[in-house]
Subunit: 112 residues, 2 copies
Amino acid sequence: MDDALRAVADPTRRAILVLVRDREVSAGEIAERFPEISRPAVSQHLRTLTAARLVDVRRAGNRRFYRLRPEGLAEAVTFLETMWSTSLSRLQYEAEQEERAHTGDQDVKGSL
Amino acid sequence: MDDALRAVADPTRRAILVLVRDREVSAGEIAERFPEISRPAVSQHLRTLTAARLVDVRRAGNRRFYRLRPEGLAEAVTFLETMWSTSLSRLQYEAEQEERAHTGDQDVKGSL
DNA sequence: ATAGCGTGTAAGATGTTGCTTAAACACTTA
DNA sequence: TAAGTGTTTAAGCAACATCTTACACGCTAT
């Protein structure tokens, strides 16, 4: 999970994941989508993603095709979802409690 | 989302999030759980989490109580879940395709 | 007011990350 | 075999993250 979350923390790598979500894409084609950075930079991101087991690689002749490996996200998704959902239901419960207790209030958490 | 995912990429901060998931916890109490690192280090992590809007702070006299702010995870969860689930259904589809096409196979993706 | 406690901030050392350029590798085709 | 194409690896560097120690802040209670 650690490797996956660290990999996903980078915006370029997230963009790469989106690119290879639905289809295999070659390293060169991926690099074309990022004109602002060099090919080696993209290649290094691909290595990071591969090491984190977030993508699969298929070598075909000269080229390497990358594709999302969604199982690699399982633990990370589970962790975040647990945090997110269980805690949201708690908030909902407390909102009800508060509603029950008093009607006028000075709430601290402003953005709910 | 960027801040949230970067914040969550650190294992210490993830552990802090778990601590403050169900109840308010004071900075000192949080720091006690991490004997290996100093209090200022914990304080800095708390600042990062606050800046990423992943926790709420309540000041009560001397102390500051932290608590998970699950809405802060919404975008990150959505992103990862989209990657995860849509792509898993694609894999399932392809598995069916492959099954249909031929029965003996040499699979590359080992950990499914 | 002053002492004490809980907590945050500042400054600096150290390791890590993400980039660039240059070079190497691997496969293809003449 | 030699040249060409797609891609990765190496080396070096600037920026950033995380930790530590020392200090400052703010509230509480003598």
